[in-house]
């Protein structure tokens, strides 16, 4: 019966922000919404006057928008890693953080994809991509990969949400505003937790978790190929695909750790998002740090040893030139420091791991910047290095994009549970089957409408229980 109490506590805590949303939550939404709108305002200035309002010019032709594009598509790999890879490996501890990771994926993809539109000189002709699209262009590969990934991750977010939506439908009946109840009713798709529904759901989730992994890998691979298909120094590399994929999962792990600590505090999820989750994700991040460091070493050492032509100028720019502060911050703050914070036992605490994750987030954004910009600064003809300093419009659109990201995330958290309740319960059952004797017998249907397996029971609790 301890399990039942725990389950009820879980439900109460996780549903609390939805059932009785705090003023603070709405205030944060408004604040983030304003930041997001500011970004849109800056974009409207750019639409009116053209890309001349940015710091980009004929030599450095891409800047913050492409950096943001790579960054957001990168952190979208959080969901895939936590949810799909850990699900495949049946890592039980993942259950309380899968939802948070999947939301990052969906939201980051939306915000990432729109960056390309911000970057276009003629956004009014966006549809030409579909009318005249040429499959030979890596940019079209991106369009395919990102839209497929977005669709897939939406489905993958939705499927495990269904039982929780049914729970919301039942628990919030008569409490929430009518439109909200209708939304839950429609989205729950008639879920009652019958055995066949469960079977279908599990099968669907299993299919999606396998499908989503190659899709995610393909997405960041083709993102890297936009660069690697050119003859530019620093981009012209066969290792770019795996380098970007590892970087994406790396930054995704950091993003999920950061999200975990925020919502753990705000929504009082300490009981379920424990030091265990932080530590295990920290280990994953440490592993990825080392792999990413290895790739970074490989990329730069092979070039530095030979110093061919234009590559020499790139390394000069990165190691000792204008961009050296960013580059060395990335190396020390994004690779060395996080690795030490997680590796050393006395800093392997929640705050230590969170500090490492925040460092990685910042460093990986900078890393994307120093992938995109310095290469373009290198002169391909006999002239001086190109210059680029972003303007207020670009910074505003960038800050606005982060605003949108957080706004959409917070909006999701306002209406949907951030912990996959039924999966946590299912996991608890697995761990302690003796505590749930009903599990064995399927016949205990009369048990107050509570189905036999506790998981199913949670899924079909009726509003009457309140």
């Amino acid at each position: 019966m301890a399990a039942t109490a725990e389950r009820e506590r879980l439900e109460d805590t996780v549903l609390q922000p939805i059932r009785r949303p705090s003023r603070a939550h709405d205030a944060i939404l408004v604040l983030l919404g304003l930041v997001a709108l500011w970004g849109l305002f800056a974009w409207s200035v750019q639409l009116r006057r053209g890309l001349i309002v940015t710091g980009m010019r004929d030599v450095v032709i891409w800047g913050l928008y492409i950096t943001n594009f790579v960054f957001f598509i990168g952190i979208s790999h959080a969901g895939t890693l936590i949810s799909a890879i850990l699900r495949v490996t049946q890592a039980g501890w993942r259950t309380s953080v899968t939802r948070m990771a999947e939301v990052i994926t969906a939201v980051a993809l939306m915000v990432g994809a729109i960056q390309i539109v911000f970057d276009l000189g003629r956004p009014d002709r966006l549809l030409n991509v579909f009318i005249y699209g040429r499959f030979q262009s890596p940019l079209i590969w991106d369009v395919f990969a990102v839209t497929t990934y977005l669709t897939g991750s939406m489905i993958y977010l939705y499927l495990p949400l269904i039982p929780d939506l049914a729970l919301l439908r039942d628990r919030l009946a008569g409490i929430a505003p009518r439109w909200q109840q209708a939304m839950y009713r429609i989205l729950a798709a008639g879920w009652t937790g019958t055995e066949s529904q469960q079977r279908f759901l599990h099968r669907a989730i299993n299919i999606m978790m396998i499908l989503i992994i190659p899709i995610a890998v393909s997405v960041h691979t083709v993102v890297s190929w936009v660069f690697a298909m050119t003859l530019r120094p620093g981009w012209n590399s066969t290792a770019f695909g795996p380098y970007f994929v590892v970087g994406a999962i790396f930054s995704g792990t950091a993003a999920i750790i950061t999200a975990m600590v925020i919502f753990r505090r705000l929504f009082h999820l300490e009981e379920w998002v424990t030091v265990k989750q932080f530590r295990y994700l920290g280990y994953l991040m440490l592993g990825l740090t080392l792999i990413y460091a290895y790739f970074t070493l490989g990329e730069y050492l092979t070039v530095w040893y030979k110093l061919p032509g234009e590559e020499k100028h790139l390394l000069e720019l990165l190691f000792i030139g204008d961009r050296a502060p960013l580059f060395w911050f990335f190396v020390l703050g994004g690779l060395v420091a996080p690795a030490l914070l997680v590796a050393l036992p006395w800093t392997r605490t929640i705050s230590g791991i969170v500090a490492a994750s925040i460092l990685v987030n910042i460093a990986m954004w900078l890393k994307r910047f120093i992938i995109v910009v310095p290469t373009l600064q290198v002169p391909l003809m006999p002239f001086d290095f190109g210059r680029y300093s972003p303007t207020w419009v670009e910074w505003s659109v960038t800050v606005g994009s982060f605003g949108w990201f957080l706004f959409l995330y917070a909006l999701f958290a306002r209406f949907f549970p951030l912990i996959s309740i039924w999966e946590v319960v299912e996991e608890q059952e697995k761990r302690a089957p003796v505590l749930v004797p009903a599990l064995a017998s399927r016949g205990a249907e009369g048990d107050g409408g509570r189905g036999s397996p506790v998981a199913a029971g949670v899924l079909r609790v009726s509003g009457g229980e309140e």
């Binding site: 004929d58 032709i61 891409w62 390309i116 970057d119 040429r134 030979q136 940019l139 298909m229």
Partner: protein, 310 residues
Amino acid sequence: MVKQRTDSDDQGPSDTRASRRRFIQWLAAAGAVIAPLPWVSFAEKERPAGSSPTTPSPQDGAQTTPRRQWVMVIDLRKCDGCLSIDTPPQCTEACIREHFVPEGQQWLQIYEQQTPGGGSFFQPTPCYQCENAPCVNVCPVGATYHNEDGIVLIDHLRCIGCRFCMAACPYQRRFFNWGDPNLPPEAAFASYSPEYPVPAKRGTVIKCMFCVHRLRLGRLPACSEGCPMRAIYMGDLNEDVATNGLEVVQLSTFLAENNAYRYKEELGTQPRVYYIPGHGQEFGRKAQDERDLLPVTWDYGLPHSAGHQP
């Protein structure tokens, strides 16, 4: 043997049903994946009618003219950067006047290259009209393409302004109209075509296009005509002939005898511009000459040839 076969025969129907069902499921899945593909063509799109030969040809026999393989040969022995006549590079300024090139862009730009043993030479760089053009390869919408004579053009009505072609160009020969170009009023009278991209359109990529509109009329490109030293030859690989307006040479012999090279040939882009090595010596420039080029002006100005716009 027989028994085995009977066994399998017995299981046959149910097996078939199961595998057919699986096959149909598989087919549906594959269909869902392939369905969006018709949106995208695997070949370069056909040009909209009238967009390639938009410039009317003066002769009726234009259709029967054999196809050209235009190449440019720049004799660096003759290029002194216009220092001996004390003007900014005349090729660049002629180009600017011809196409109302927006301020800041030099479709044909002269760079000063260092020679290994000290000293320098001037290298006029138009768009190289590569046969294996990286810009054409990466364009997502087919807005940049080869015309039938091998020249790389841009359809400014289709370009979405992603600038991927600029990232791909290893010669940095493409320019972007970041804002509304500041052009003289006459530019507005030009009728736009990819062969004569005037007036420049905001948010699109633009570059040298070998003055196709002039070549069509049998005239030399503006830069070639504008070069006081006659350093720029225009030639046709098919007919193996080139001219700078003063002399006509056999292209293959001219290139071979003068050790012509192509810039960054090792990249495999197959540029259509050949250089004959030199440092302006035919007009007395020494490689060690330290004088710099005079700055180019965007003065669409007065010595404007009246009939240049066909």
